[in-house]
Amino acid sequence: MKIMSVDDEPDMELLIRQKFRKKIKNGEYEFVFAENGLEALTKLIEHPDIGIILTDINMPEMDGLTLLTKINELKNPTLKTVIVSAYGDMENIRTAMNRGAFDFATKPIDFEDLEITIKKTIEQVEVLQKAEKDSKQLSAIRHDLKIAKQIQQSILPKKFPPFPNRKDFEIYASMNSAKSVGGDFYDFFLINDEMLGFVIADVSDKGIPAAIYMAVSRTIIRAAALTGLSPEKCMEYSNDLLSKENISDMFVTVFYGILNTKTGEIIYSNAGHNPPCILKKDGTVIETELTHDIVLGIMEDAKFKTKNISLKPGDTIYLYTDGVTEAMNKKHELYSEKRLEKELIKLKDSSPQEIINGIISSVEEFTKGAEQSDDITMLTLKYDGN
């Protein structure tokens, strides 16, 4: 601990060096000396790591009370001042305490007592120094999280409409994470001129671990899908890779579909994801059949199935994560699939973007005042035909 003694008595330095020689020798205390308030301020700039100031009150140039005021202006919580003044000077000592001095000792100095006072002050300063360090680390982590969020958002396709020349389908998607980074993702890509691949997925956790897992899953699935694999083969390939590397029993639920933009037929695999809905042009809503496949990442060599469903021009497939249906209000009620279906019916004849925005506001209204507990992700794909 670096300590500064401020006193105009020339033998103070000698006295302190002698009384605390052991502690100085073993490096516990390091002393800096100043003869008045002004010099103390200069020394403080030279030694910003000073934690404790022992100061006299009556000194030339700048007295101890003025020094105390100046130190207060520095607003440094890890710098504590101990007043060392004559016993008869109690009025000034009281003033100093009221101005924020940490403690006081009286002259003639009882060095044993002063040592106790210094020890107590050091404890306090160290607690505050640790708190300050933790707080700095915390803000560094916050900063990292902010960057992580930006990176995560940047790997999701964000430009809408993504294929402005295509008039045969419209697509829109959004992801709102509950924490600064999330475990949900969506993706879509043209495999060739006629085949549009689209994905929605939910990692079994939140925060940084989920975000890393999400980035890996998304990359594996996209790479496999772009080679033109069928949904089941794409799931099998991705599952094997994810299962081999899995160390924390994390998994990801994935729905992967391929729309044939000529015929409106969708072939899909559903690896443990809640089934997407088809919003028909006439306003009816049906759930896509499950393929009863297991989530990705926990069982190597698992087999997957492909099913198909047809879209007619004007039909929309709506994919979502359970953050939608399991959004909870203050009364602990879930938004539920029933509400979702009702809302979707209301949104018939809407564009993919209007559907997603409509559901978002409906969920927001439902959960008003409650904290968002899960990521909310949706993707809508409307087939317009030729």
């Binding site: 079994s204 956790d205 998994f251 994801h273 499950l290 297991i294 989530v295 926990i298």
Partner: protein
Amino acid sequence: MEIIEKKEDSFVILNLKGRLDTTNYGELEKKIFELLEKKENNIIIDCEKLDYISSSGLRILLMGLKKFKANKGKFVLCDLQENIKEIFEISGFSSIFDIYESQDDALKA
């Protein structure tokens, strides 16, 4: 969520009550590690009063299954409410867990 622990024959029965989700899965995780440390071998998770399970909850059950199976033990579930059954169906977890209709069935197995 509440966890009520009971011992019956060679089984430890954990009754889960309420919601198992991202806010409290750590409690179940801790309990499972405790039982592993005590060298318990056969676990029944009774879900009669479990109202909701999130994917973080599923992950902890999966972890339990793997750890106990690795010790040649049992880690089975019973008495799932309809909505929980549905989650197990959708996620494909029903194919990797042994799931029984009742605690009695689980004890006999």
